[in-house]
């Protein structure tokens, strides 16, 4: 007998409903009863049956064909009921004839499923459920989150007998549909809601939740004394309108965006992408509808007439890391970045662990290996440039600098009257160069494009070893498709010299001329070899010269002869002169005859990608050996064409005069120094879709491994989430990134609204309605209140995707307003508060803790946006990182900005955040851990940053109060909002008096302020000070 293996714990949907009409999860009441309650009646597939099949069977009998045993799958009705040669795994209506049950129940260890060596046998309860389900017809259902949410009739308020006098009845308690769903769940579990929290607790809760800062005692008292029935709503609305709101909610979004200010990996160099962070804050404050918020971040660059803001938004997926370690394969780490993008997209907008399908078809959810790469293809076709962010200040600075540079040039002009003679000599210098059009352009990977000015531009991906080939033969030009003459025939004389110009281009990193974007300086190139072939044989080049040579990363020479020495490790580079044209010239030992086809080869083989981005190859037929000119070709041409020499041309040529003669070298240095001091524009990292004629092919990778590429895959949405075909999207044959962005927030994606609602719920309640963060697939924990989630999801879309309205609604609910106190009975009945019969109580995030103390101390600087800042931190934190970079505390208010502005270095995250589970920016974090450790205690007690805040807090309070009890209460309330109880007050007073006595006795050095600092420090360390109740 064939053995079919049933073990593991997978899960999957199926689309097929065999007998009845298609039923959806949303028709079904969900798990308010336990699974055992199903026994005896027909068990609900989604609630009771799928979890068993998923956990026990699908690993070997699920969607992953590579892992499938005995060619049997149990995740669809059709497959499970297929004829297996006289028997069926499942015979609907007949559990006794179903092979699956015979095998599960078998006493023979060799026959029993799951195999004894893999897993425990099924429990009697599990067997009973399966049996009852088969007897009832073995109906399959689609997993509930794979069906679009619908609104269910809101249940009536259950009749209840309040056990607490303060809760008059659930009917009076309920304020919203939210509460009625929750009330139903409570009633079914014999739970009563908690009382509404007192007003001090509520005001603190609202402030912390909506703006991430505690209320001042005055703000709290204002709310408490406002007896208007509208007081609560007024407070909520004012907090939602407060710019602090966007800063508070940007943080969880940036966790998912894996935002950081450095590139990650070994070198972890700085990057500029804070304009993206500011875009998030602004969008949240403006309550940008979530669909628009999504589309702009995924594909803002592809929108019609995309604004700079919309391009900045695409920084979301530019937050991936960049490996700059010497010798890496850049394309391998680009692939890893795209892998990260796919996984992040799945988590953030689909709530699915799409990343699992990188290596194989998903074991639980219906995402095939191919689906994964189809999704990847949609994200894979973008180039990754920098975007200049316009800024008035920068414009002013640049204008000012330009003026200063001109002044310097005027001074230098006066110093060197022989400039005129030089100009005349340059004008007399004959032009001998010609730039023929190649008939073929080839390269290892970059796409070479002919430009109108005779140059060649390279786009597409660069590799560590790029080779360019330019063929000049009899044929048609690559560009004009016109017949093109041979280089020699253009000058009608044998060719004696060749010139390579390296040219700037604003499309290149740092304006070129090279393509280097990691490890080396941006915009660098490193030309290893330059070869001319005639009839496939290299011709001898000699007497090479260049206008400038300099190297970064290494100490070798950049002599012009390096590129004709046959050694790939030597070469020419013009490092540290980004955005400047330079040239290299060599002479031929023997002229090339007029009628000879020529091939030019350029080889770039440094330990990082360093090929040229824009260059021009020209030839000369000259009687004397040619040398590289300091003057760029275009300027030289103008000089020859213009007489008399215009003032503009004089200005433009002057720096080249300075570079050209030994007598002016010092002056040139001072000019260069000034030129380099040009104020840099603010830039940010963005996406730019590739040219239609050079799309990036996305290849399926066997086992997910970069080194195992397979067939090319066309971009598409996973089949099981597609209700219509996208074959003819806007007349195109396949989907693109913008289509994907729109699909994510379309009605076709059943998950997105649920995911957004659940995340919002978690921000306020500490745990989501679906508690498995980042996973709403078949493996997710079934929620207690799916109808509530769906109601909020439907309403979110109906309300134009307004997240602020969602937040407003959640905090208005009676569920939210409950006190978080709990007694023993209730704690035992529902230790994890699944049924929401009490309010939230959980530790604040790392950033909220610091922000709260900043606010309490009065030091908080409320400036919004701008480059990241450096609060006080021990030097030893970054000393552990590569290169031990210094951490210099920001001057002035910048050291006291809200914590989301703290410079985020991936390999050395700000220690006071990391210790409280702050993110590293290395992965998408949908839900942070909330740990509770001794190192947290050491941080809050002893970190000089916090001690300073304690001192400021004490000092500030001492300005207002004189009496010890007043001082204590003021410090206490700034930190905890509520006043201290009598016993708390007594304990603090005793501490104060004891310590003051020690100071007075000279046991310990200090003054009045220090003792109050110690008091403030102690109160900052209270559990309640860092907790939202």
């Amino acid at each position: 007998m064939r053995r079919f293996v049933l073990w593991g714990w997978l899960g999957l949907l199926t689309v097929l409903i065999p007998f009845s009409s298609r039923s959806t999860a949303s028709d079904e009441p969900h798990a308010s009863e336990t699974t055992v309650a199903d026994v005896g009646s027909a068990p609900n597939f989604n609630r009771s049956v799928r979890p068993i099949l998923a956990k026990r069977c699908f690993t070997c009998h699920g969607p992953d064909s590579d892992a499938r045993e005995a060619d049997l799958r149990l995740d669809t009705f059709e497959d499970a009921t297929r004829d297996l040669g006289g028997h069926q795994a499942i015979v609907p209506g007949k559990s006794e004839e179903s092979e699956i049950l015979l095998r599960i129940r078998s006493d023979d260890a060799d026959l029993r499923m799951p195999p004894a060596d893999k897993a425990e046998p099924l429990s009697p309860e599990e067997i009973q459920i399966l049996s009852a389900w088969i007897d009832a017809g073995a109906g399959y259902q689609t997993h509930w989150t794979f069906v679009p949410p619908t609104r269910h009739p809101i249940p009536a308020i259950p009749a209840s007998t309040p056990s607490e006098p303060s809760v008059t009845s659930l009917a009076n308690w309920s304020r919203d549909g939210i509460d009625r769903w929750v009330a139903r769940g409570m009633a079914r579990n014999d739970l009563q809601p908690n009382r509404e929290a007192n007003r001090l607790t509520l005001v603190r809760r609202l402030y912390l939740d909506l703006v991430g800062l505690p209320p001042t005692p005055e703000q709290a008292d204002h709310f408490v004394s406002d007896k208007s029935p509208m007081a609560y709503t007024r407070l909520v609305d004012s907090l939602l309108a407060d710019p602090e709101y966007g800063q508070r909610f940007a943080r969880p979004w940036l966790d998912m965006a894996r935002y950081a200010d450095t590139n990650g990996y070994e070198k972890d160099r700085p990057r500029s992408i804070w304009p993206y962070r500011d875009w998030v804050i602004k969008s949240l404050n403006e309550d940008m509808p979530f669909d628009q918020f999504t589309i702009e971040q995924i594909a803002g660059d592809m929108l019609a007439n995309a604004s700079v803001e919309q391009r900045i938004a695409t920084g979301f997926h530019r937050n991936t890391m960049l490996n700059e370690e010497g010798g890496i394969d850049p394309l391998e780490f680009r692939f890893q970045a795209v892998v990260d993008r796919v996984a992040t997209l799945g988590t953030v907008w689909m709530g699915l662990t799409v990343g699992c399908a990188q290596c194989h078809t998903h074991k639980y959810d219906p995402i095939t290996h191919k689906d994964y790469y189809a999704l990847m293809a949609l994200l894979d076709n973008a180039d990754e440039p920098e975007q200049i962010v316009p800024n008035r200040l920068w414009d002013q600075q640049r204008t000012q600098h330009e003026l200063e540079l001109q002044q310097l040039e005027q001074q230098l002009r006066a110093q060197f009257p022989d400039y005129e003679d030089w100009l005349v000599s340059q004008q007399a210098d004959p032009v001998v160069w010609t730039t023929p059009q190649p008939t073929e352009l080839h390269s290892t990977l970059p796409k070479l494009r002919w430009q109108e000015d005779g140059s060649v531009f390279a786009d597409g991906d660069a590799t560590k070893r790029d080779e360019y080939r330019l063929v000049y033969s009899e044929g048609v030009s690559v560009e004009t498709k016109e017949p093109t003459p041979l280089p020699g025939s253009l000058v009608n004389q044998p060719i004696t010299a060749v010139r390579l110009e390296v040219l700037p281009d604003e499309r290149l990193p740092a304006n070129g001329p090279g393509r280097s974007y990691y490890e080396g300086r941006r915009g660098d190139f490193f030309l290893s070899e330059f070869t001319i072939l005639v009839d496939g044989t290299p011709v001898k080049l000699q007497a090479a010269s260049h206008s400038h040579g300099s190297l970064s990363v290494g100490s070798g020479s950049t002599d012009a002869a390096n590129v004709i020495d046959g050694d790939g490790s030597t070469g020419w580079s013009t490092s540290e002169r980004p955005g400047q044209p330079h040239q290299w010239v060599a002479n031929l030992a023997a002229p090339i005859a007029v009628d000879q086809p020529i091939e030019v080869q350029l080889l770039f083989e440094r330990h990082f990608a360093a090929s040229l981005g824009r260059f021009r190859v020209s030839f000369a037929a000259a009687e004397s050996p040619q040398i590289a000119s300091m003057v760029p070709t275009e300027l030289k041409a103008s000089l020859h064409q213009t007489s008399p020499i215009t003032a503009e041309l004089r200005d433009a040529l002057f720096p080249y005069f300075l570079a050209a003669t030994p007598a002016t070298l010092e002056a040139h240095k001072s000019w260069l120094a000034k030129k380099r001091a040009t104020p840099e524009a603010t830039t940010t990292l963005v996406f730019r879709e590739r040219q239609p004629d050079n799309p990036r092919p996305t290849l399926l990778r066997h086992r997910g491994e970069y080194l195992q590429p397979r067939e090319e895959i066309t971009g598409d949405i996973p089949a099981f989430l597609r209700s219509t075909t996208h074959a003819d999207v806007e007349g195109r044959s396949s989907m693109n990134r913008l289509d994907l962005a729109r699909w994510l927030v379309s009605g076709e994606n059943p998950l997105v609204a649920r995911v957004v609602v659940n995340r919002a719920w978690r921000e306020f309640f500490g745990a989501g309605l679906v508690r498995t963060a980042g996973d709403y697939g078949t493996q997710s924990e079934p929620p207690q209140h799916p109808e509530l989630l769906d109601m909020l999801a439907v309403d979110l879309k109906k309300n134009g995707w307004s997240v602020k309205q969602l937040h407003r609604r959640l905090v208005h609910s009676a569920v939210y307003r409950q006190s978080s106190q709990v007694d023993n009975t209730k704690h035992h009945a529902d230790p994890e508060n699944h049924w929401l019969s009490r309010g939230p109580r959980f530790r604040q995030s790392a950033e909220m803790i610091r922000d709260s103390f900043l606010a309490a101390s009065g030091l908080l600087d409320r400036t919004i946006g701008g480059p990241s800042v450096y609060p006080q931190q021990s030097a030893s934190v970054t000393a552990m990182a590569y290169g031990s970079p210094a951490w210099t505390t920001s001057a002035g208010g910048d050291a006291y900005r809200r914590s989301l502005y703290t410079y985020a270095k991936r390999t050395a995250p700000f220690a006071a955040y990391l210790v409280f589970d702050g993110p590293t920016g290395e992965n998408c974090i949908d839900r942070r851990d909330r740990s509770n450790t001794p190192l947290q205690a050491l941080t809050l007690l002893n970190d000089p940053m916090y001690v300073e805040l304690a001192q400021e807090l004490a000092t500030d309070v001492l300005r207002e109060h004189r009496k010890p009890d007043d001082i204590i209460q003021s410090i206490f309330r700034r930190l905890l909002t509520r006043p201290a109880t009598a016993s708390e007050l007594a304990a603090i007073r005793t501490f104060y008096l004891d310590q003051q006595a020690r100071v007075n006795a000279g046991e310990v050095s200090g003054e009045t302020t220090s003792v109050w600092t110690w008091v403030a420090r102690a109160l900052m360390n209270l559990d309640e000070a860092i907790t939202k109740e």
Partner: protein, 482 residues
Amino acid sequence: MSNPSIITGESTAITRRQLYRDCGIGIGKLALASLLANGAQQAMSMENASQGILPTLHHPARAKRVIYLFMAGAPSQLDLFDYKPKLVELGGKPIPPSVIEGQRYAFIQPDAAVLPPRFRFAKYGQSGAELAEILPFTAEVADELAILRAVHTNQFNHAPAQILVNTGSPLPGRPAIGAWLSYGIGTESDDLPSFVVLKSGDSLSGGASMWSNGFLPGQHQGVPFRNSGDPVLHVSNPTGIDSQTQRATLDLISEINRERLSTVSDPEISARVAAYEMAYRMQSAAPELMDTKDESPETLELYGAEPGNPGKAFANNCLLARRMAERGVRFIQVYHAGWDHHSDVEGGLRGSCGQTDRACAALLKDLRRRGLLDETLVVWGGEFGRTPMVEASAALGRSSGRDHHPQAFTMWMAGGGVKGGQTIGSTDELGFHPVEDAVHVHDIQATLMHLLGIDHERLTFTHAGRPYRLTDVHGRLIEKLL
């Protein structure tokens, strides 16, 4: 709720799962005992006790702790452990194209010439372990070592390769070995972290990812111990606060926290009170640990240690590692960065071996004579090996070096249930590929976990919809080691 119990008289139920997952505490076994169920406490006193998430060990442990001597930068196995006469013969000639076809390199082109071994080799100890002459101290403990000569990895750049050795994945974000151990079997110390990191030499490529808790709860993060200033960040009181004020402060905090606990009954508050107490203990334990004045001159001499001398940082760290082992730290990682000999591999090795050889051997001898070696697993190795071919580059100013070589390299293990005095595995005549008993870094991880009583396939953590483990979907036991 299989083990409901009572905490500190407040009658709030708390379970092992809540403690580890929900409360997210990391407070040592003393505090744990005060918080946990009686039933759970009993489980902890059993033979296969675990102080972590595992109720009991998967099998009896052979080692209680690990000292991992991480030689970051990748030592040249061909010049230290894996002698290849063929390289002498082929010196200056290119490697046969059949060998190098399809291989990727960081810096060199694959047709680079062969570089012969830089040192003389000899056989040492009863076991006849073959070692280079520049490891004279290691040679003295040759019979303690199980030398793994056919280790391989699939990363050829430092950061990803170092992160792979430490976390099982080349990309940052997964928990490190030490974090898994802390999570799985907890700590034996009540006043020190369970996972400690020491460092000397150059910059570490893999960075903080190598001691990250990844998706495991935060308390399992590795704690770097600094060589100067505060050994642990913020372990000293702020200026002006003496120990009496600190104690009074903690008492005040504790008193008010307990009062709040009686009102709101959140077990998280109890956990915080316990965490503050452990922090307080750590404040005296950490300086005491770092203070080596009770070590004899003979011991200092054995290691070549000079406390306070940054030039002897590795030797000082090895001594500290032993002191941590004595104090119950579970996973002690001692990094020495500076083995990345792209140029002048001979001179580079003389320097690096000079800084490390003596202290590594001393650590084994010292643990042995204190009766700790049998329960302490010591691991020595880098993130990959180095090429049989020479590295030379005009642009980078390099000559007579070796490039990165992930295909084969050497590590050794000692103590902790490892069968010493043997050399496992071999490579081809060029030292290019393993030919016998090839061992992937995932196999090293699986074996390490096994020695500590953990089945690497069964210690998992569900994150983002699927269970993860240290060895991903790989890892096989190195049976010959056991």
